[in-house]
C-alpha cells in the first residue's frame, strides 16, 4: 500500500532528481573507494557497471521511465532530423489529416459546445411546442405569459418577436427589428456599448414612452458611430422613438439573432398600428420563447412542470393545443440549438472529415513500413547489441508519437488559419474567436494519439518483429486509402452534380420573372375583409404596370424562409415531408407550374385540394387520384380536384418533398404574400410595387424580393458545399496518389536485382511492369469496390440535400472511380518507369 507520505516522498525525489542522482553517485563512489582501501582490489571489477548499478538503485523511486522516455524521444528526434524529406512529408500529410478534423471540430465546438458569453448560460433553455407529430418554434404571447406566470421551475421567461420590413426614417432598405420582453438584456447580462439597454420596469409597459436600442452595426453604418445619437428621436414605421443606447460590438444574442433595432415588446402595438400579437389568441403565435431554469432545476424537471401547464392551457383553448403536446426545453445558451436534422448533417460531415484522417494515416503507415525496410540494417544492429522487441517497438512508436505531435501542432495552426478565413467570410457572430479553447486542444491531443495508433502501431509491430517485408499490411493500408478516397470523391461528385442540377435543371417552377411582395397585413392588424379589399385593389393597380402578366397570392413565398409550414406524414410506410400551400387560382400560372390532370381551383373554393404529382405517386401509385379524399396532409372532406407537376419551391435541396395546395379563403387573406409575374426583367419593379402598397395604406412597408435573387442565394450555398467537399475529396485523392507513388517506388527499388535478372533472362519490359503493378492492383480494385458500396449505403443520408439528384447517380460513381484509376495509373507508372529504364549490367554489377 502506497501511503500519502510515500507519494509525497516520490514527488519530492522527482523534483530534486538531479541532485539526488549526484548524491547517490558520490555515495557509491565512496563505497567503492573504501572497498579498495580495505584490501579488496577486485571490488573495482566485481562492482560491475556503475551506471547500471546506480540506475538499479534509483528504480526504487519509480521514475526511471522518464529517463527512458527522454532517451527515446531524443533518439527519435535525431532519427527524424536525419531524414528531413520523410519527416516533412509525414508531418504535412498528418497536418492536413488532423487539421481538417480540428477545423470541423472547432466549428462544432463554437456552434454547439461553447456557451454564449452571457450571464449563466448553462441555465438558459429554448422552449418550443412539440408533439409526436407536430412541431413549431413559435408560440402565442398569451400562452407564453401563461407559462411565465405559472412555471416555478423557471426563474425567468424571455420572449422575442423578430420582424422584418421595418421602416427607419425614409430609408429605402427595410430593417429587421426584435421586439423583446423587458427582462431580455438584464437576463443575458448584456452591457451597452453606449447609453443603456431596455429596462423591464421603465420601458416595457404599454404606457411607457417609446424607446429603441440600435445594433452596433446600424449605429456604425447609419450614424457614423456618433455617441450623440443617444437621446435623439428617430422614426420607426413613422412613429417617433427615443434612442436609449447601442448594443455592444460583440453582442451575444439568443438564437444568434442579429437585428438592426431592439424595441420593448409592450410597445409593439405603438410601432405597428393594429398589431394583434399581444392580444389573447389561441396558442399559436409569433413569439420565440426562452427561459432561465431556477437554481438547481434540470431541463427535464422543467419539462415535467410545463407539461402540466400545457394540459391546463388545453382547458382554455381546447382546439389550439395539439394532441399530446408538450414544451421541449433544449439547452439554449449556445449559438445553435441541436435539432435532429443538424445532428444528422453534422455527423455526416464528421464522418467525411474523419475519412481524410483515415487516408492520411493509412498513407503514412505505408510510408513507415517502407521506411522500416531501409532501416533494417540499423534495427538489426540494435537487436544484435541486445535490444528486445519491446524496446524496439517502444522506440519506433515513440517516433510515431513525435511525428503525430508535430503533425497535430501544425494541424492546429492550419485549422486556426482556415477558421479565421472562414469566419471572416461567413459572417460569424463577433463574440466567436478562432483561438482554440481547452476542448479544441483536448481534441487535438486525442486525434493526435488516435492517429499515432492508426499509422504507427501496425508498422512498429511489424518492424519490431522484423516482418516488414511482408506485403499484406501494406496492401490493406493501400486498399483502405483507396476506399476512403473513393467514398469522398463520390460524395463530392454527387454534391457537384446536385449544385449543377440546382443551377441548370428546371426546378419545376418559374422564378426568373417573379417578384414577391409581402405586405404583412396580419402584422399590421388587418381583418380578413380589409385584407381582401386591400389585395384586390393592389392586384388591380399592379396589373396596370406595363410588363406585369399575372398576380397571384400564396401563404408561403416560394424559395422563402419565413412562415414556412411543413407536415411530416407517413405515407405507405415512408416518412414524407409535405408543404401545404394556400393559394389563389392564378398561382399555378404565375409560378409556371403546369396542371397535369383535373382542374384549377375556383376562387375561394372549399373542400378541394390540388396535389403534386409526387404526392399522387407516393400515396396512390398507379391509381387515378382525382376525386379521392384523404390526400395526406389535407383536412377531412377535402377532395382531390387536380394534379400539378412537382415544384420544389420550399426546399429545393430535398427531392423527396411533396406539395399540397388549398384554395385561399377570406380568413386567410391577411397572411398572404403577393406574387407578381412579369414578361420582362422584373428588377426595376420594386419602387413601383412598394409605392402602390403605400398609396393604399401609408403605414405599410412591404418586403419586395426577386425570386431569382433568393434562387441564386440558394444555389450559391449548394455550390459552396460542393466546393468544400470536392476540396476534401481531392485532398484525399492527392494523399492516396502520393501514397501509391511511395509504395511503387519503394517496391521497385527493393526489387531492382530481381528485375535486372529477369530482364537479363529475356523477360519483356511490359511483362515486368505488369508483375510490379499486380501486387497493387488487387488492393486498388477491392478498395474501389468497398468505397463505392459503402457510399451507396451511407449516401442515403444525403438525399435531402441533393436537389433531386439520385444518391446512386451513376455518373458520380463512374467519375470518382475513373479519377482514382487514373491517379493510380499515373502514380504507379511514374516510379515504375525506373524499372523499365533499368540498365541491366549496372544493376547486376552493383549487387
Amino acid at each position: 500500500m502506497e501511503t500519502i507520505l510515500e507519494m509525497l516522498r516520490r514527488i519530492g525525489y522527482l523534483l530534486t532528481r538531479n541532485r539526488r542522482r549526484r548524491e547517490l553517485e558520490s555515495e557509491m563512489e565512496f563505497h567503492r573507494e573504501m572497498s579498495v582501501r580495505a584490501g579488496k582490489p577486485e571490488a573495482r571489477r566485481s562492482f560491475g557497471n556503475p551506471d547500471r548499478l546506480q540506475e538499479q538503485a534509483r528504480e526504487a523511486w519509480g521514475w526511471t521511465w522518464i529517463d527512458r522516455l527522454v532517451q527515446d524521444l531524443s533518439y527519435a528526434a535525431r532519427t527524424l532530423r536525419r531524414s528531413p524529406g520523410f519527416t516533412l512529408t509525414a508531418v504535412m500529410v498528418l497536418a492536413i489529416g488532423i487539421g481538417v478534423n480540428i477545423t470541423a471540430f472547432s466549428l462544432f465546438n463554437m456552434m454547439v459546445l461553447q456557451y454564449l458569453p452571457i450571464r449563466d448560460p448553462q441555465s438558459i433553455v429554448r422552449l418550443q411546442r412539440r408533439s409526436p407529430d407536430a412541431s413549431t418554434n413559435s408560440i402565442s404571447y398569451s400562452s407564453m405569459m401563461f407559462y411565465r406566470d405559472h412555471a416555478r421551475t423557471l426563474s425567468a421567461v424571455m420572449g422575442t418577436f423578430g420582424l422584418g420590413g421595418q421602416r427607419l426614417e425614409e430609408d429605402m432598405e427595410s430593417k429587421l427589428a426584435y421586439y423583446v420582453t423587458g427582462n431580455y438584456f438584464q437576463e443575458l447580462g448584456t452591457r451597452p456599448e453606449v447609453g443603456r439597454l431596455i429596462d423591464a420596469a421603465r420601458d416595457d409597459t404599454p404606457a411607457a414612452s417609446p424607446v429603441v436600442v440600435l445594433s452596433y452595426g446600424l449605429w456604425q453604418r447609419r450614424y457614423g458611430s456618433d455617441t450623440g445619437v443617444v437621446g435623439k428621436v428617430i422614426h420607426i414605421n413613422g412613429k417617433p422613438a427615443t434612442v436609449i443606447g447601442v448594443t455592444p460590438y460583440a453582442l451575444a444574442a439568443l438564437g444568434s439573432a442579429h437585428p438592426d433595432l431592439w424595441m420593448p415588446l409592450q410597445k409593439l402595438p405603438y410601432f405597428l398600428d393594429g398589431n394583434t400579437t399581444l392580444a389573447p389568441t389561441g396558442s399559436s403565435g409569433d413569439m420565440e420563447m426562452w427561459g432561465r431554469l431556477a437554481p438547481g432545476v434540470t431541463a427535464k424537471a422543467a419539462e415535467q412542470e410545463l407539461l402540466g401547464l400545457t394540459n391546463e392551457l388545453r382547458k382554455q383553448y381546447p382546439k389550439d393545443i395539439w394532441d399530446k403536446e408538450y414544451i421541449r426545453a433544449d439547452p439554449g445558451g449556445h449559438d445553435q440549438i441541436l435539432e435532429k436534422d443538424t445532428v444528422m448533417i453534422m455527423s455526416a460531415v464528421g464522418s467525411l472529415v474523419f475519412l481524410i484522417l483515415v487516408v492520411a494515416c493509412a498513407n503514412l503507415g505505408g510510408l513507415l513500413l517502407a521506411r522500416g525496410v531501409s532501416r533494417e540494417h540499423e534495427i538489426g544492429i540494435r537487436v544484435a547489441i541486445g535490444a528486445g522487441r519491446g524496446r524496439i517497438f517502444r522506440q519506433l512508436f515513440t517516433e510515431s508519437l513525435l511525428l503525430s505531435a508535430l503533425g497535430s501542432a501544425t494541424g492546429l495552426f492550419l485549422g486556426y488559419a482556415t477558421l479565421r478565413i472562414f469566419m471572416a467570410r461567413a459572417n460569424a457572430p463577433l463574440w466567436m474567436t478562432a483561438t482554440p479553447d481547452w476542448r479544441v486542444i483536448l481534441f487535438t491531443v486525442a486525434v493526435g494519439l488516435v492517429a499515432a495508433v492508426f499509422f504507427g502501431l501496425a508498422p512498429a509491430m511489424q518492424i519490431a518483429r522484423q516482418r516488414q517485408r511482408r506485403t499484406i499490411i501494406r496492401q490493406i493500408l493501400l486498399g483502405a486509402q483507396i476506399a476512403a478516397s473513393c467514398l469522398l470523391l463520390i460524395v463530392a461528385g454527387l454534391l457537384v452534380r446536385a449544385a449543377e442540377h440546382a443551377l441548370y435543371a428546371n426546378p419545376g417552377f418559374g422564378f426568373e420573372q417573379v417578384v414577391a411582395v409581402d405586405p404583412d397585413l396580419g402584422t399590421h392588424g388587418y381583418k380578413p375583409a380589409d385584407a381582401r379589399n386591400f389585395l384586390e385593389q393592389f392586384r388591380q393597380r399592379v396589373q396596370q404596370i406595363p410588363g406585369v402578366t399575372s398576380v397571384a397570392l400564396t401563404s408561403m413565398q416560394p424559395l422563402g424562409h419565413n412562415k414556412v409550414s411543413k407536415i411530416s406524414n407517413t405515407i405507405n410506410g415512408h416518412l414524407v415531408s409535405i408543404f401545404p400551400f394556400t393559394v389563389d387560382p392564378s398561382f399555378f400560372q404565375t409560378m409556371q407550374v403546369p396542371l397535369m390532370r383535373g382542374r384549377n381551383f375556383l376562387p375561394g373554393e372549399q373542400h378541394a385540394v390540388i396535389i403534386s404529382d409526387s404526392l399522387a405517386q407516393k400515396q396512390w401509385p398507379g391509381e387515378d387520384p382525382l376525386g379521392k379524399q384523404d390526400a395526406s396532409g389535407s383536412g377531412p372532406g377535402d377532395v382531390v380536384i387536380g394534379v400539378v407537376a412537382n415544384a420544389r419551391m420550399m426546399d429545393m435541396r430535398d427531392g423527396d418533398t411533396v406539395e399540397l395546395y388549398h384554395a385561399a379563403r377570406e380568413e386567410d387573406m391577411a397572411d398572404l404574400t403577393v406574387l407578381v409575374g412579369t414578361s420582362g426583367v422584373p428588377d426595376g419593379l420594386t419602387p413601383a410595387l412598394r409605392s402602390i402598397a403605400q398609396n393604399l395604406d401609408p403605414k405599410l412597408f412591404p418586403e419586395v424580393r426577386l425570386l431569382k435573387g433568393e434562387f441564386h442565394r440558394e444555389t450559391q450555398s449548394a455550390g459552396n458545399i460542393a466546393m468544400i467537399i470536392s476540396l476534401l475529396g481531392f485532398v484525399a485523392a492527392l494523399l492516396a496518389g502520393l501514397g501509391i507513388v511511395g509504395l511503387v517506388a519503394y517496391s521497385v527499388s527493393q526489387r531492382t536485382r530481381e528485375i535486372a535478372i529477369r530482364l537479363a533472362l529475356g523477360a519483356s519490359r511490359m511483362q515486368l511492369l505488369g508483375a510490379i503493378l499486380r501486387q497493387f492492383s488487387w488492393p486498388v480494385v477491392l478498395g474501389l469496390i468497398a468505397g463505392a458500396a459503402a457510399t451507396a449505403v451511407v449516401s442515403q443520408v444525403l438525399r435531402g440535400m441533393l436537389y433531386g439528384v439520385s444518391n446512386l447517380d451513376p455518373l458520380s460513381y463512374a467519375a470518382a472511380i475513373a479519377l482514382l484509376i487514373g491517379i493510380f495509373a499515373v502514380a504507379a507508372l511514374l516510379p515504375a518507369r525506373r524499372a523499365l529504364k533499368l540498365d541491366v549490367a549496372r544493376a547486376l554489377h552493383q549487387e
Binding site: L5, E6, R9, R10, Y13, E23, L24, S26, E27, M28, F30, H31, R32, E33, M34, S35, R37, F47, G48, L53, Q54, Q56, A57, R58, E59, A60, W61, G62, W63, T64, W65
Partner: protein, 118 residues
C-alpha cells in the same frame, strides 16, 4: 505506462531476500547513524563474515528505506574525512524494525518447532 515502476525482482543477487536485508539494515542502524559502506561492513562483521552485502543490493535497499521513510539521510564526515551520507533510523523505521523482528521471531519459532517435532 504505469506511474511508478517497481524494481523487477525483490530478490537481488546476494541470494538474501530483500525483506531480510532491509531488516538487517534497520537493525544495525538501531545502534546509531551509519553510512552505506559502514552498514555493509557491520553486517559482514556481525555475521562472522558469513553475510556479504553487495553494493548492487545494498543501495536499492537503502533507496527503498528512504522511500518508505524508515530512515532519513544526513550528511556527515567519514573516518577518511570525506563528505558522505549517513542513514538514521526514524520512529517509523523503529516501528518497522520491531514488527519485522516479531514476525521473524514468530516464523523462526514455527520453523524450529517443526524441526524439533518432525
Amino acid at each position: 505506462m504505469p506511474m511508478f515502476r517497481m524494481p523487477k525482482s525483490d530478490t537481488p543477487k546476494s541470494g538474501m531476500p530483500s525483506g531480510a536485508l532491509a531488516m538487517l539494515i534497520l537493525r544495525v542502524l538501531h545502534s546509531g547513524p551509519l553510512h552505506g559502506y559502514a552498514i555493509a561492513q557491520r553486517i559482514h562483521v556481525l555475521s562472522s563474515e558469513v553475510l556479504e552485502v553487495e553494493e548492487g543490493s545494498l543501495y536499492p535497499a537503502l533507496q527503498k528505506i528512504l522511500l518508505k521513510g524508515w530512515a532519513s539521510a544526513e550528511w556527515g564526515i567519514s573516518e577518511t574525512n570525506r563528505k558522505v551520507r549517513f542513514y538514521r533510523l526514524t520512529p517509523a523505521g523503529q516501528k518497522q524494525l520491531e514488527t519485522e523482528l516479531e514476525d521473524y521471531a514468530r516464523v523462526t519459532e514455527a520453523i524450529q518447532s517443526v524441526l524439533r517435532t518432525a
